[in-house]
Each structure stands twice: as C-alpha cells, then as structure tokens.
C-alpha cells in the first residue's frame, strides 16, 4: 500500500529564469500561472482538468490562483511545511493526492521573485516596514534568544559551519567543491535557459571573494527569479496523454529528529553533523522505490551551496561517506562520462535558482529522454529538496 508506480508526472512548464528582480513587473502569481499553462499544454490537457495543488513552502494561495485561472474545480490544496527542503517531496505529495482519489491532476510548482525579498539575505536585518520590524524585535525577546548570540545570520553561515566540519573530519578540500562547480557550469553553458554562459575555471574559483569561510562566491547559488510547474496524475490517466509518463517510483519527505537544528543551534550528533542530513529520507525513498544507489542513472541534488551536493552524494550512497571530495575530483559526477552525472542541467549554481523545481524539471526530461545533456539510457532519476530543516525530501522518477 504505497504510491509506488501509481502516479506519473505528465506535464512540465517553466518561465525564463531572470537575474534577481528582473522578472518585475510580473507578479509571482502571474509567473506561476504562465508556468502552469505551459505544463497543461505540454501534457495535452485542458485547463478544466487541473483540480489540485500539491505544493511546498506555500508557494501560492491555490484558492486565489484557481480563481484567477478560472479553474472549474479545486479538490486538493496542501503544502509540505518546509521551504526548499520540500521541493522534491511536493511531487510525492501530488502522487498521494491523485492515488488517494482526492483529485485527478495535481500541480506542483515554485514561483519566485527576489526583487524586495532576498532569500539569502540576513535573517537579522530588520524588515523595512516598521510594524514588521517591531513584531520581529518582539519575537526576539524570548528566553531562548540569548543562548544563540553568535551572529550566525544567513543560510550561507549555517552551511559553512557544516562544510568546515566535513573538511576537518574527512579532509575534503575546496578544490573538490570547485570541481563540482566547474562540472555543473560546463553542463549549464550548453543550455539556453542558463543564467551563466561562460565556463568556470579553478582560477576563477580561487580568485573569488570569500563570503562565509570556507564558502566563497561560487559556492553560493546565484539569486534568480522564475517559475516552474509540473503536473502529476495516475498512471492510468497518464497513458493516453501527449508525453511519455515519468513514473513516480518512490518519494519521501521528512528527516531525522536529532538533525533538525542544522539551521539553528547546531546540536546535530557527531555521526550526522557533517552530512546533508538526508540519510533517513534516502532510506525511505529507496525503500518505496525498491531500488538502491547503484540503480540511479542521474542525480539532481539540491545545490544551494556546492558542498551540500557532495554531502548528499554520501547520504544517498552514490559514493562512500567521507569520500565525495576525491570522487568528484576524479570526474565521476561530470556529464557525459561520469559514472553518476550530477546536476546535468547546471543546477542552482549555474542554470538558475527556483528553489529546487529546476531539478524536478530536469529529472522529468532525463527519464523522457529529451534532456539537453541527456544521460544515455537513463531509467532512474533521483532529485532532492534541501538540506534544510524537516521535511527534507527526495523523489525517484522512472522511465515508463
């Protein structure tokens, strides 16, 4: 009794990816509706078919978007409770929605405009609006705040703490992170959708300014705008639609209770501190899909920061724990000749950041066989959401 092989992604749509703020004057809802409309066309469906929203990070208000699109009916409207950690898991939520009979065609999407609100910005800079600033100040006046006064104030700071531990514990080097950034950039510049169009060299990487040591500028995802939407339905309905179904073999969203504090107080136990925190999620996803790491043909791993790609490779068993540095430096994750190509679309680091949904889009194209940097004979594509707080997530798509 699980969603294994019961649902499939049948439609994908996306807007252009813009440098931060350049999608204005469009609104986030407007970009979402454009991406959904393209996904409906891609699937060969009608607008009236769409009746569910399986989201993460509460990307939109489904009632408002359904009204603005003139959808006939809305029968499912739920969201995973975390931010980017839920990206891959939202496709699993869509599978649960259609397999449970609660709706027929579920949209999963992210839409993002970073004109005024920068996700990577500091978490302590008071918001401009005085009322919100006062409310935030009031929230800080609790007995727990004084116990975390280290000024660790942004996602980059948090993941640099974990990266530094990994480097000390396993001897991982900045050259290893650079190798992954360079491999992904090489994939991105072959794609018209990518924000970056020039190759990245070791010199570029080591000449770049340090932001939160050991993370330099190129270890950080660029901040971009855009929207990506996917449509999921049951495998029976998927058969007679326009595209080959990308079957959902397995999915998981959750995490480990003791690993929860990775963006807060850093109390994670020694055995999982220097990791992506995905080990339980990986176990759950592989168990549902009935496969293991060796079956994965391409991995689209959430890369808000380059070291977290290496740590997820260890969490998902794509290489032994502690050995992701040399494994990447030896070219194993490069396309087309790597043993396990990682982020064939260039990922957040080089193609564009829409909080993980570009990874979902690439996973569908890989199992359809239509990706720009296609992995020959790709049968299983793994894509993940976060490292982040609970829930993080993973979904495994299979060629029909």
């Amino acid at each position: 009794m699980s969603v294994k092989d019961k649902a499939a992604v049948v439609g994908i749509g996306r807007t252009k990816y813009y440098k931060r703020g350049q999608s204005f004057p469009m609104t986030q809802d407007e970009m979402a509706i454009k991406a959904i409309t393209l996904a409906i066309e891609d699937a060969g469906l009608q607008k009236a078919d769409v009746d569910g929203f399986a989201l993460y990070s509460a990307a939109i208000d489904p009632g408002k978007v359904a009204a603005e699109m003139g959808l006939a009916n809305l029968r499912f409207a739920a969201t995973l409770t975390s931010g980017g950690g839920g990206a891959a898991g939202s496709i699993g939520l869509a599978a649960a929605a259609v397999a449970s009979g609660m709706c027929n065609y579920a949209v999963s999407l992210m839409t993002l405009q970073q004109l005024r609100h920068r996700l990577g910005g500091t978490q302590v800079a008071p918001p401009a609006d005085p009322e919100a600033a006062a409310a935030m100040a009031a929230m800080m006046r609790t007995p727990m705040t004084a116990f975390s006064q280290a000024n660790i104030a942004s996602p980059g700071h948090n993941f640099a703490m974990i990266t530094n531990r990994h480097m000390a514990q396993y001897g991982t080097k900045r050259e290893h992170f650079a190798a992954q950034c360079i491999a992904q950039r090489a994939n991105a510049i072959r794609r018209p959708t990518s924000i970056f169009t020039e190759p990245l060299t070791m010199d570029d990487y080591f000449n770049a300014r340090m932001i939160s040591e050991p993370l330099c500028l190129f270890d950080y995802t660029p901040e971009t705008d855009g929207a990506v939407a996917l449509i999921t339905t049951t495998v029976d309905r998927a058969r007679d639609l326009r595209q080959p179904p990308a079957v959902i073999a397995g999915s998981a969203n959750g995490g480990t209770g003791k690993h929860y504090s990775l963006l807060g107080s850093f109390q994670m136990p020694d055995e999982s501190f220097a990791s992506g925190g995905h080990r339980d999620v990986a176990k759950q996803a592989y168990r549902m899909a009935g496969i293991g790491p060796a079956d994965v043909d391409v991995a689209l791993l959430y890369d808000h920061f380059s070291p977290m790609v290496l740590m997820q490779m260890e969490d998902y068993g794509l290489c032994p724990v502690g050995e992701s540095g040399p494994f990447v430096a030896d070219g194993n994750t490069a396309w087309p000749n790597g043993s396990i190509p990682v982020n064939t679309h260039g990922g957040h680091l080089s193609e564009g950041y829409v909080i993980g949904m570009t990874h979902a889009y690439e996973a569908v194209e890989q199992v359809r066989g239509t990706a720009v940097n296609q992995v020959e004979g790709c049968e299983y594509a793994l894509f993940t959401g976060g490292p982040a707080t609970i829930p993080m997530s993973a979904t495994i798509l299979r060629k029909a």
Binding site: P25, T27, D29, E30, I33, T37, K47, A67, E68, M69, G70
Partner: protein
C-alpha cells in the same frame, strides 16, 4: 460624516494600481464607472487579476458602464468593528452590486445616502463618487 451619509470608514489613499487596474482608476477620476474586459473574448471580470478566466488572455480594455445596477447582496455594520472606527461611527451598508452592462462581474462597495434598513437585494442603485484626491475617486452606490 464623509461626503455621504452612512459612508464606510474607508482609509484607502493609494490604489496601488497596476496595468490591469489603472484603467478603472483613470475612468473613476473622470466620474466614469469602467470594468475590466478581455480584449480577445470579451468576458468581463472582477476582481481584474492579470488573466481572463475564460480564455487566459492578458489583454484588457476598459468598458465604460452606464453606472446603474442592482444590489446582489448586502449587510449592515451596526457597531464599530475596531477602535479606529469608533470615533464618529455611523452604521454603513457594504454591498455587492450587479452592474448593468457587465454580466458576470460584480462590484464590492457600499450603499450610501439612504437609511441602512431600506437597502435589500434587488434594489436599483446608481454609482456616486467620493473624490478622495485628484488621483483617487472611490465608487459608492445610492438608490436610483
């Protein structure tokens, strides 16, 4: 007491207009009631939003309406709902109006210059304007 009797305690000063609502406010400044209409399929729509609900087009025109209509539903706010409304509070009549000439689009506003208990669904009304500033005129409705 605002421009009208039983005028709601409205405090809006900036309509935050975008390309899909500016036409409404331009017409309002000239005392004309206009409604968003899809340029490709002619469907009227409120609230404007950026897409036609019927055909998905983003192209709009603004159709000037006769400025008459019928109360679809209404209510009467009998007590101030927040401290800021208490000073000089008057009962007021929020109402949803079926505007003549725009089938399928209803205006959400209020009926003014009449006894609140006289207002009921089906009542014939016409638009009147409260000029808040040069750039902003707000539409209210009053019995014909």
């Amino acid at each position: 007491m605002g421009t009208f009797e039983h005028q709601p305690p409205v405090t809006l000063t900036d309509p935050a207009a975008d390309d899909w609502t500016q036409g409404f406010w331009d017409a309002a400044a000239e005392g004309r009631l206009a409604v968003t209409r899809c340029s490709s399929c002619g469907t009227f729509r409120l609230p404007p939003g950026r897409f036609c609900r019927a055909c998905g087009s983003q192209e709009v025109t603004y159709e000037t309406l006769p400025g008459t209509g019928t109360v679809f539903t209404c209510t009467v706010v009998r007590q101030p709902l927040s401290a800021q409304d208490a000073a000089g509070f008057e009962e007021y009549v929020p109402a949803v109006i079926d505007a003549d000439g725009a089938p399928g689009a209803r205006f959400v506003s209020a009926v003014v210059d009449c006894a609140p208990d006289d207002v009921a669904p089906g009542m014939k009304v016409r638009v009147v304007w409260d000029r808040v500033s040069d750039a902003l005129s707000l539409p209210y409705w009053t019995p014909e």
